[in-house]
Amino acid sequence: MLFGRKKKNPIIIADKGVVEWKYTTCGYCSTGCSIEVGINGVGEAVSSRGVGGADVNRGKLCIKGIFEHELFKTEGRGRTPLVRNSWLDEYQDTDWDSALDSMAENIKVIQADHGRDAFAVVSTGQILTEEFYALGKLTRGAIGTNNYDGNTTLCMASAVSGYKRSFGQDGPPGCYEDFEETECLLAFGSNLPEQHPIIYWRMKEAMEKRKFPLIVVDPRVTMLAQFADMHLAINPGTDVVLLNSLAFVIIDEKLADMDYIEKHTNGMEEFQSIVEDYDPVSASKICGIDEDTIRNVARLYAKADKAMSIWTMGINQSTHGSDGVVGINNLNLITGNIGKPGGTSLSITGQSNAMGTREWSSCSGLPGHRALENVDHRQEIADYWGIDPEFLPKQRGLFQTDIFPAIETGQIKGLWLIGTNPMTSMPNTSRIRKTLEKLDFLVVQDAYEDVETTKYAHMFLPAAIWAEKDGCFTNTERRVNRVTNVAKPFKNSKPDLWIFSNLSKRFENGLKMKFSENAEDMFEEMKELSKGEHRNLDISGMSYDKIEKNRGLQWPCREGDEKGAQRLYSDGKFPHVDGKAKIIPLPFVDNNERPDTEYPFWLNSGRVVEHFHTRTRTGKIGNQNKFSPTPYMEMNPDSAVELGIEHQTYVRCVSRRGDAVVMVQLTQRIPRDMVFIPFHFHDCVNRLTLGLLDPHSRQPAFKQNAVRIEQVDQKEAAQRNVEARGY
């Protein structure tokens, strides 16, 4: 063997000089991975690694987590508060006191002139639970606006709504451990390898130990669809039809768990009468899945001892999002697959703390899954906060997707955006631009001052990011985990909790209420509010130390419990007043914008693994961004030939809303009548989307739109594309 040099230099392998590893939880998606951030001798965060003993990720991280320490050094961070009178002026630097004074003053003026609800607040799924709780307290209790929502309306609202309708309360009933137990896994519009790689790995590990059938419902041949035992390439927006038809077969062939239905559910008869219309032959004509396959899947699912369904945006982001979730719950209720190991309806959530905002932000009501509509809940919270219960609205106000139209028509004059970027994330962004221009007062609170929405803001508040702060996230399987102060806030940026708590002092009610800049104080308040025999969202058995020691604890975790419960509803008791779950009939009406001769392609959108949401963070980390530094569009090569379009050239996509220039990637993973564009990029796919709203969840249908494809001058297109990429 040839070895080369005998006299060798020392081998040099990069040594980042880590002297300490600090525990925290990943701030991207809702998988909830435990991370250790390596700190070098001079206190810089230089490395990230998955925590070996953490149950969620067991030492693994996805590409985003692996480079998460680089976030602290990303470009474009907010340095100091900025103000200006009009969005046409230049920003001026200011200090925090002046900024918050002016902000409170502006809010009060708008509320005095146009009513309390004329100032709206739209937050995020990215900040810490304690911050959500404080923001809810501030918004509901001190500012007193009912037009308060989170951007979770763009991602998880349908799941929330569906869970509430079926079970009486929000909260995914299952956990990742269910993969180890299940005998059949049905995935709807969920591309785990791309969107939730760690959850995919947990599933893969389970599958390598014990093979179970995987069925994937998705119009694209995603990696998950490719690896599935059966891939159901469904027509966009018709999941409810498929679900009804599966139920038809299960009932028709007497495969339903009648005992479970009898004991734990209501509404079966009415359900059955609607389901009768969805025999597999009729259903196949609508959803595009042949009748044999429908029967086959229904039998497989119903006959499995334990079967589970997961879903993500393929269900949620549709005009039948909430119905889709209810349909999945129906399927699991009639087969007795709720709350048992390996049998569950598990929504795979989007943002790192979408669950935290659902639990504690008061967006959809009051903290701890309480409702504004419930007089006892209003009284309870008002008493605890020390305010007059009459100050609280008696009904939930507008959703995020209704707040923007209310600005458009002049009912809302002021807006506070926290950690969200509607200029890129909302459907039909040209409408959003026009809307934002109209505001008398727009405050953008974000970690990045180059977030596109700052273009129309009057004030920018620089927030600290992720592990520059202290608090908790809750993940998809209801696991509360710790985010700790790994780094100091960048320059003069402040933790969101600090901002909320300092703004509260500028409102009359705020002075009456307890606000703390210390996250643990807020956590203790939440614990108090979570106590109660019938409350599933009980975190009173948790403490910061205990959470970190256990690498996260699932709720319910009642006072005195050593650990939290893995699953909800295992006892068959549901939060509806009668203690039973509802099986809800789902008549299907096709209200989607469908392809026609003028706009012949379905436009579908989704995520890629290297980016998160609107790229404000991941677009600035080279080792992630390089995998897709610019937007692209998947298109079927056969349709491209017809239009004379070539691989890796630019095209112009046109919808009834607007146009977008994008680079074509020809691939057979997508049907001939569909194109797919990742949603992360500014001035791209959401210039085209319609985003019809789901009637229950008000979540937009991002994935069902019609477009046509046109050829463009390549040089001009390239230039337009470069100019649209600020980062």
Partner: protein
């Protein structure tokens, strides 16, 4: 030593219970035995003198890749870059893919690839500086960036794209097998990070738990007989007969129905339209275009005079004995000095140029440089001896010294060109790996050597009213021979590339499409040059017409040579791994540079700084 965590998960630990004696290439898996002087040494990682306790330290290790499972999530690439602190434009490991079928019967096959720590590491043999070492420990092939001078030759010879030339740092770096982790019993970072349970690692030929295959081919992976790579695959899912690449390379993979093995074939992505693509003739290797042409011309010119005199050809004797001989040698030295300067500046680290001689035993680069150095210095010594001799007139010893160095130069020149040609005989670059390189180089030596000799002396002779017909006829004749030799090479080369298929055929496809018009133009020029030089062999009288024809021929020969040599460098298609749509896609990189997308550091594309 690398720190193993208290809660290190089980999957991160190496786990080789039994070990085979030999690998699938018939070589021993044990690298050395206890008696070897290479045994029991510290790897000296970051100056740590401890010795790892891994029981399989002297066994060849390698990656195992279950292609069935790879989800293309980039976790392996990310973990690698994070650990090795690599900037966005450098990656020791990359994931690309091939895909095939028709919706919804569609399959994408992701391939994650780093260095394969080959049994026969061509990088180690090719590197002129001896920056590469194959370690007895784990059989790891490691490269030392502190020795490397950034010539990039290893990136040419490696069939798998493993060595990474960093244009910013001007040096190569590559996968280090995470030997620091191996020393403490941990698998490499990429393997521990894999989220599809696709990537694994261990003593070579061991099939990991839950896996059934350890084969050496999957669609998209280059042939293994070049280097005997230490990677094994599992790929049990049936793939469509034709798998295409999403990157700009005009290659696809076609299944041989009998063997089930995929072979690279031409994918006519750009249609059949012929273009000029003059702008694409420029490349990072531009200095080498000049260096090779000039060196061949200089050597040719010297041989013209030396051999002509030796053979007693009257006109050449006249040249050598003339007072213009010394200035001519001076001009040749000057030309070669410029060429050497250009080729040195082409290195990532030009100040380390002296390291080029480190690997005379194996590297054709070292041998070429040595050959050129001997030629250049002999020519210089010859020049000095002749110069001094002409001043002091008639010292016998000086005369002998001059003659001696003339012989050395005349011998070392053609040898240098032979090794220059050997540089390009790379198996991983089929377009180059043909004897045509030799005919082109020697052909150019004859053509250009004769031409510049003529260019230099004919005007001087004419000015002094001396006869030039003989010289011109000789020059035309030698050019004719050189051109014919070159064209014969081109003919057989094209034929061979077409027959052999694979990446060579892809180069040929590029030659007749992207450079189709340029190629025809070049062929046209060559043909004209042959005919004209043949005609000029018989011209007895110098006239205005013949003068014009000579000027035209000169321009035409220089143009054809430049185009030919530039095409030689840009048309080569290496046996690389398939890229992705953006990452490792040459077409997108070029586009990003042209349009300014590459100006953002986070795009991970850096404009070549050479």
């Amino acid at each position: 030593m690398f720190q193993v965590r208290n809660d290190e998960p089980q999957y991160a630990f190496l786990n080789d219970e039994t070990i085979k004696e030999t690998n699938c290439y018939g070589k021993h898996i044990q690298t050395v035995d206890v008696s070897s002087e290479l045994h029991g040494k510290s790897l000296n990682i970051n100056l740590d003198s401890e010795i790892g306790e891994n029981p399989n330290r002297y066994k060849q290790h390698g990656f195992h890749f279950t292609a069935d499972n790879c989800i293309g999530c980039h976790a392996c690439e990310a973990a690698c870059s994070e650990k090795n602190d690599n900037p966005a434009h450098i990656a020791f490991r990359s994931v690309g893919y091939v895909e095939g079928g028709t919706y919804p019967d569609f399959k994408r096959l992701n391939i994650s690839m780093a260095c394969n720590h080959c049994d026969d590491p061509v990088c180690l043999k090719g590197c002129p500086t001896r920056a590469y070492t194959k370690f007895a420990e784990y059989g790891a092939v490691l490269q030392d960036p502190d020795i490397c001078f950034g010539c990039g030759y290893c990136t040419w010879v490696c069939p798998y794209n493993a060595p990474q030339l960093d244009p910013v740092k001007g040096q190569v770096s590559k996968c280090n097998m995470c030997v620091d982790r191996l020393e403490v019993g941990l698998k490499p970072a990429c393997v521990s990070a894999c989220l599809g349970n696709a990537l694994n690692f261990g003593v070579i030929e061991n099939t990991p738990e839950n896996r059934e295959q350890a084969k050496v081919e999957i669609p998209g992976f280059p042939r293994t007989d070049i280097t005997n790579p230490n990677i094994r695959f599992q790929q049990t899912r049936d793939m469509p007969n034709e798998m295409t690449r999403t990157d700009s390379m005009s290659v696809k993979y076609h299944k041989d129905i009998k063997t089930g093995v995929f072979e690279p074939v031409v994918d006519k992505k750009k249609g059949l339209q012929r273009s000029w693509s003059f702008d694409k003739l420029r490349s990072r290797e531009d200095p080498l275009v000049i260096f090779t042409l000039v060196s061949q011309a200089v050597i040719g010119a010297f041989l013209f005079m030396f051999l002509g005199k030796l053979a007693g050809i009257e006109s050449v004797v006249q040249i050598v004995n003339s007072s213009a001989y010394l200035p001519m040698i001076f001009v040749l030295l000057g030309m070669e000095a410029v060429a050497l300067f250009l080729s040195t500046m082409h290195l990532g680290k030009p100040l380390r140029f002296y390291r080029a001689f480190n690997n005379l035993k194996y590297s054709p680069v070292s041998r070429e440089v040595a050959g050129i150095a001997v030629f250049f210095n002999s020519l210089g010594a010859h020049f000095l001896a002749v110069l001094v001799n002409s001043q002091i007139a008639g010292v016998e010893l000086l005369q002998q010294v001059a003659t001696f160095f003339a012989y050395v130069a005349a011998l070392s020149g053609p040898i240098a060109i032979y090794f220059m040609h050997k540089i390009y005989r790379i198996e991983a670059r089929p377009f180059w790996n043909h004897w045509q390189v030799l005919t082109a180089f020697y052909g150019n030596m004859l053509t250009l050597g004769s031409l510049i000799t003529g260019l230099f002396f004919v005007p001087i002779f004419m000015f002094n009213n001396l006869p030039v017909t003989d010289i011109l006829q000789l020059v035309a004749g030698l050019m004719f021979v050189g051109l014919v030799v070159e064209v014969i090479g081109h003919y057989f080369h094209a034929k061979h590339m077409n027959v052999k298929g694979r990446e060579g055929a892809v180069s040929y496809y590029e030659q007749v499409t992207t450079f189709g018009k340029t190629n025809l133009f070049r062929h046209g020029l060559l043909l004209i040059n042959i005919l004209v030089s043949m005609a000029l062999m018989f011209v007895e009288q110098v006239s205005v017409l013949s003068f014009i024809v000579w000027v035209a021929l000169t321009l035409s020969v220089l143009t054809a040579s430049l185009i030919s040599r530039a095409m030689f460098y840009v048309m080569v298609v290496p046996t690389t791994m398939p890229g992705a749509f953006f990452w490792k896609n040459k077409g997108f990189e070029e586009h990003a540079r042209e349009t300014g997308l590459a100006s953002v550091v986070e795009a991970g594309i850096i404009a070549d700084t050479h």
